[in-house]
């Protein structure tokens, strides 16, 4: 991802940042007085926390948030066109780090694992650049991201394995029957065919828990794991509305690929 900035697939997380900017602008009234992310609410939420947790948490009303997102949108576009290999793209990526850090702090709640991984990738990139941005430093950054993605899948898989709901094979029916993440027709289908739910639960757990194999297995196996991952995240976007995970996780797959190549 960092080591091969010319690859278009290395820029996927910046498409996620474009979408993030659009979504936050759509929610701009929530950052104004009386909104759920109003400065007074954020003041309440961060009261009593350490000073570093409160930085920018109640700074700027909706106009500041919109301005930050316009900057993020433009900077993300620059990276999508230019990559993170040249000074302009590097500056634009660091700009995305600043704007996304501001909005994360200004919002505090309502975030997702996709946003978290995106932000971790941006901070890791800043560390790589602070260390000179050499090819070696970029490889180290890629390895760190690959390790985080692998940890994410394994931890999620083990947590599911320990869950009676996931083990019983009814988790997907439950999730898809909610209004927030659901698809009524899909939930009804799973109720009618519980075997499909059981198979889906087991497939997700098996794929997540065995993901580390992808890094050390032969290249066709690695490709199969990553293609399955892309299909999984696209399905979650379509069925559950988890749109940002596609860009965040698939955006880090080039780092997994680069690390697996390095290990061979």
């Amino acid at each position: 991802m960092f080591a091969e900035p010319a690859l278009l697939v290395s820029r996927l997380i910046f498409i996620g940042l474009l979408i993030d900017a659009i979504e936050v602008v759509a929610l701009r009234s929530a950052f104004a007085d009386g909104g759920i992310f109003s400065r007074s609410n954020l003041g309440v939420l961060t009261a009593g926390t350490r000073w570093q947790m409160r930085i920018l948490a109640d700074t700027g009303a909706s106009a500041s948030v919109v301005a930050a997102m316009v900057i993020q949108f433009s900077a993300a576009l620059v990276v999508i066109v230019d990559g993170v290999g040249e000074p302009v793209g590097i500056a634009a990526a660091l700009c995305c780090l600043a704007t996304s850090g501001y909005v994360r702090s200004r919002r505090q709640i309502g975030g997702s694992g996709a946003e978290q991984l995106t932000f971790i990738a941006l901070v890791a990139f800043a560390v790589v650049i602070a260390a000179g941005g050499s090819p070696h430093a970029r490889q180290v950054g890629d390895t760190f991201l690959a390790a985080q993605v692998t940890l994410a899948y394994v931890a999620a898989g083990v947590a599911k394995l320990a869950s009676p709901v996931w083990r019983s094979g009814t988790a997907m029916t439950g999730i898809l029957s909610t209004e927030g993440y659901g698809r009524p027709r899909m939930a009804d289908l799973l109720v009618a065919h519980p075997l499909v739910d059981r198979l889906m639960c087991r497939a997700v757990v098996a794929w997540e828990v065995t993901f580390p194999l992808a890094v050390v297995a032969p290249r066709p196996v690695l490709f199969a794991y990553l293609a399955t991952g892309a299909a999984f995240h696209i399905s979650c976007a379509v069925m559950m509305g988890l749109n940002r995970f596609v860009w965040a996780f698939c955006g880090c797959y080039p780092a997994v690929w680069a690390t697996a190549t390095l290990l061979r």
Partner: protein, 182 residues
């Protein structure tokens, strides 16, 4: 290998080690680190586990106007349309924000079992109250508010609803953001 590369290897190894340790939620050390490190840089990757969402948490509230209580209303931001939410889904952020506050509130409430004032004094309770009081500002003559959390689910034709939490009644007056406990 240059000094800078050795340094970032050290930074990333430490960061990853703390991230791994954080997956074991019981660790006191990682809990302390999470309180010091901002912006979610120490991740907890569980994704719908161990307890996947099986119901929607909904925040409802009511206002007292002229001595009588109005009907319960929901603080609702809508759900994304199935046709577009795979691409752009801002409602997910608002709904997740309410869910985060509600889950935090229910955790505090379960821990204290109402034995002390911890629930009412928790930041999630005060933030939810603040959201409700903001909404009551458009209610002329509102003298008090109360909120509740209900869990709704649907499976086939069956609809389920359970009451998860009911707040105290809070008196409000126009210039105040957050009311006093009655």
């Amino acid at each position: 290998m240059s000094v800078q590369v050795v340094l970032i290897v050290a930074v990333f190894v430490a960061w990853f080690a703390v991230s791994v340790a954080n997956q074991f939620r019981s660790g006191a050390l990682t809990a302390r680190m999470r309180r010091h490190i901002p912006l979610g840089l120490i991740p907890l990757w569980t994704f719908f586990a161990p307890n996947p969402a099986r119901a929607d948490s909904r925040l409802i509230w009511r206002a007292e106007v002229g001595g009588s209580w109005r009907d319960w209303r929901e603080v609702h931001f809508g759900f994304g349309s199935a046709g577009t939410r795979w691409l752009v889904h801002p409602q997910l952020i608002s709904n997740k924000a309410i869910a985060d506050l509600v889950n935090s509130l229910l955790r505090v409430d379960a821990r204290t079992e109402g034995a002390d004032r911890s629930t009412v004094l928790s930041s999630s309770y005060v933030a939810l109250l603040s959201i409700v009081v903001d909404r009551s500002a458009s209610e002329a003559g509102c003298s008090a508010v109360q909120f509740a959390v209900v869990r709704t689910s649907r499976l086939g034709d069956e609809r389920g609803m359970s009451l998860a939490f009911v707040s105290e009644v809070h008196g409000v007056s126009a210039p105040q953001l957050v009311g006093d406990v009655r």
